[in-house]
Point group: C2
Chain length 459, copies 2
């Protein structure tokens, strides 16, 4: 076994340069899922990956149609029924490239410089797609087989909110059946390895507050007609009490309190000073509610991300504006049910309607919180592979952010999930995105060990 691992690692070392040259082919597809002008590019990218899987000898390779962009599927199930089946997730779509003038190289022409590959998607998340393809190639070329059964699921809509993924997963439960899901969307930093094992859910909403039929004169009507901006302010100002506690009735009812183990883990993964510096604040807010580390991860939030109404130009304009609006993002804690929270939010906000000012709350996106395994053989397979490769185990970290696809798997498939990402990048969602080649090679080395570890897990 050790020889077999070393052979595969040697293969990866020997093919490094070609691997990176070939990566440019994948990077060349402008697979921007948010921009309809690139629809054909997204489809072409999916088809190209299908071809790669076929060339590797995967079965049932297909760009499976969804309501939106296809999911690339392929399976290699020849390891035998006594071996685990691993469902591998990554996404092949990328963020838009604006603002283009800030790019120092062509976003879709991969450029290697200073040990980095510059391109849109080089890190997020074509590195996940490419890492898997190269890993399986190396395993198959050196051993003639994979240590486990593998099912590939590469999504094409992650950067536009995964609108079709829930329906896809529901319709393909049998096909997606596996013993473990490996999430390859993320970062692998050899110096400071981290595994995100949980995140918050989300509900977004947009509120419209309507008053007079048009902007009316503030001199003639001031004191007579209720101003919708005042009502908008009242709603916005009412969401929190002085301590920062959210006032939407029932908001905390479903929140699951973290266990003591979980609390210590959260505390250990929290970097208070770095967070303060990142935000440019000297202190946090809401300290009476819970420790900062928990508020940032396992407590729910309610933030107004934008608001508007009336005259925003220079000087002043003598009006009572006809309407105002604002956008809400709530991050949900474990066990909070997005549809129930959305209903509570809508009921609360619309209760501010008065005789002459109407308040309408439209719910937008919803996502479930997610939780990956925090112990057990699947995680151990990942941790020992990382340790054998970089000399330390990954820190388990909770994020306050949301990964909708993982919430969907948690809820609809219910299989254990762990994370393993390929390479480390910067400039994700920004100009001059890049992937560090060294960390990418290191993650491939760890992946070889990981797959052999997975093969040893009893199922």
């Amino acid at each position: 076994m050790t020889d077999s691992i070393q052979n595969t690692i040697d293969y990866l070392q020997e093919t490094r340069d070609r691997m990176m040259e070939d990566y440019k082919e994948l990077l060349r597809f402008p697979s921007i899922s948010a921009d309809p002008a690139h629809a054909a590019d997204v489809h072409a990218c999916a088809a190209w990956i299908v071809g790669q899987l076929e060339a590797l000898g995967f079965d049932k390779c297909e760009a499976i149609a969804t309501e939106g962009y296809p999911v690339v599927y392929g399976e290699w199930l020849k390891a035998g029924a006594d071996k685990p089946t691993v469902l591998v997730y990554a996404h092949y779509d990328v963020q838009p490239v604006d603002p283009l003038p800030l790019w120092r190289s062509e976003p879709f022409e991969g450029l290697i410089r200073d040990g980095k590959m510059f391109a849109r998607g080089a890190s997020d998340n074509k590195a996940g797609v490419w890492g898997n393809l190269k890993l399986f190639e190396a395993l198959l070329r050196t051993n003639g087989e994979l240590p486990v059964n593998v099912k590939i699921m590469f999504e094409g809509e992650e950067e536009s909110g995964s609108p079709s993924i829930e329906a896809f997963v529901k319709a393909n439960k049998e096909r997606l059946k596996a013993d473990v899901l490996l999430n390859c969307d993320g970062d692998f930093a050899p110096d400071d390895p981290r595994l995100y094992y949980g995140g918050r859910g989300m509900v977004t909403a947009e509120v419209r507050v309507s008053g007079p039929k048009a902007d009316i004169h503030s001199g003639l009507y001031g004191g007579l007609v209720q101003n919708p901006l005042h009502v908008a302010g009242r709603i916005i100002g009412s969401f929190h009490d002085d301590e920062g506690s959210i006032q939407v009735p029932g908001y905390y009812d479903m929140v699951r309190e973290a266990s003591e183990v979980e609390k210590s883990r959260i505390e250990a993964g929290f970097q208070a000073d770095a967070m303060k510096e990142g935000a440019g604040v000297n202190q946090f807010w809401g300290d009476s509610i819970a420790p900062a580390a928990e508020r940032a991860t396992v407590y729910p939030t309610c933030d107004i991300i934008g608001m508007w109404g009336g005259y925003q130009g220079a000087g002043s304009k003598t009006i009572i504006p006809a309407e105002a609006g604002f956008k809400i993002t709530m991050r949900l804690a474990p066990d909070q049910d997005p549809p129930a929270i959305a209903k509570a939010l809508k009921d609360y906000v619309e209760s501010f309607t008065t005789d002459t000012v109407e308040v309408e709350c439209n719910v937008g996106e919803m996502a479930w919180y997610f939780e990956l395994v925090t112990e057990g053989p699947w995680l151990e397979a990942v941790q020992s592979a990382i340790e054998a490769t970089v000399g330390k185990r990954a820190q388990l970290v909770r994020t306050g952010g949301s990964i909708p696809i993982l919430g969907v798997f948690n809820r609809l498939i219910g299989l254990p999930i762990t994370a393993f990402a390929y390479g480390e990048g910067e400039g994700i969602h920004s100009p001059n995105e890049y992937l560090k080649l060294d960390s990418f090679y290191t993650s491939l080395e760890a992946a070889v060990r990981l797959y052999h570890n997975l093969a040893a897990v009893e199922v």
Copy 2:
């Protein structure tokens, strides 16, 4: 005397057509005070009017320089010390013409059609300038003299907020000395004559609420960092209680309660149904504070005229925004002191500053409430002239709006003020502004009687 009046009226009738053709000369100046590109036009317009006054035989005619545009001055003081001196106010600057495509004729080429003169400023307020010039011409041509002493003061900055007028009035108190001020900025409707005898003061302010150093991720920082939009909402929502009463400490302290006579007058001039229709609301707001007519005129207000912050586009963006802002307009009641109110507002708003969110309130414009005479010989001179001309007296009406120049005269000069306007128009501050020629002629006829009435007031 009656013969003398009739002679003058006859002269005005006989010269009607020429009067309107000549009016086009004045209308031709694009004296847009708000647009620096028209600075030369504003100055040229002032110089042209000075020439007209000189041609009439007025003395000390001058375009008096101010920090901004000149005030056109001229005096005719040959009526004798036993006759009143009347200070006449109007303004020769006009509003901008945007949106130009909506004009059906050239804004600065007067066009007579259907008994109306179409042009920017035809009504607001070159009709005030032109009415006075033609009145004095008629009086001087037919009688060789004016019935009273006259001082002319035509402003060139009214449409851009009269920024220089307070300093001008302070510096020219002696020159502006008179027994009565006649405000000729307004409307004269022969069917429904109205005299605005009072209006509210004003304080405007802009508030900036700053939090994190940049927009930060709502997933990572939500629950940790106070959101400046929440604080902005709190301030906006706090200005009024449920009844609509303003919560800024001390806000009502200086408010003078209206007398019973005043209350009846306000009630009589208030058109509740028309106001509801104008705003498109079924009911007013704040009924427990005072009757609607009083709230719209002699009670102060506090309105947010605009607000903004964060992301206003489609969909959502995962941010806690770095800052928010909003604009306030307060309309002030009689006896409320704008600087004192501005200070109370600033103190109140800035008291919402927290450890991590800074609130800054910058005061903008300030204007004093104004009050014209509501009884006595000056008003009677106006009323009996109107009655003799159109068969009824004008209704005395208070406006909830502000006329800064009148507040300046009230406070700095302290002379009695009454109003008399020339003609009736529509489209003021809008495309296709026009002056109704019939109402303009009628107002000139009333003005002849007015000046003879004024001559009879004992001083």
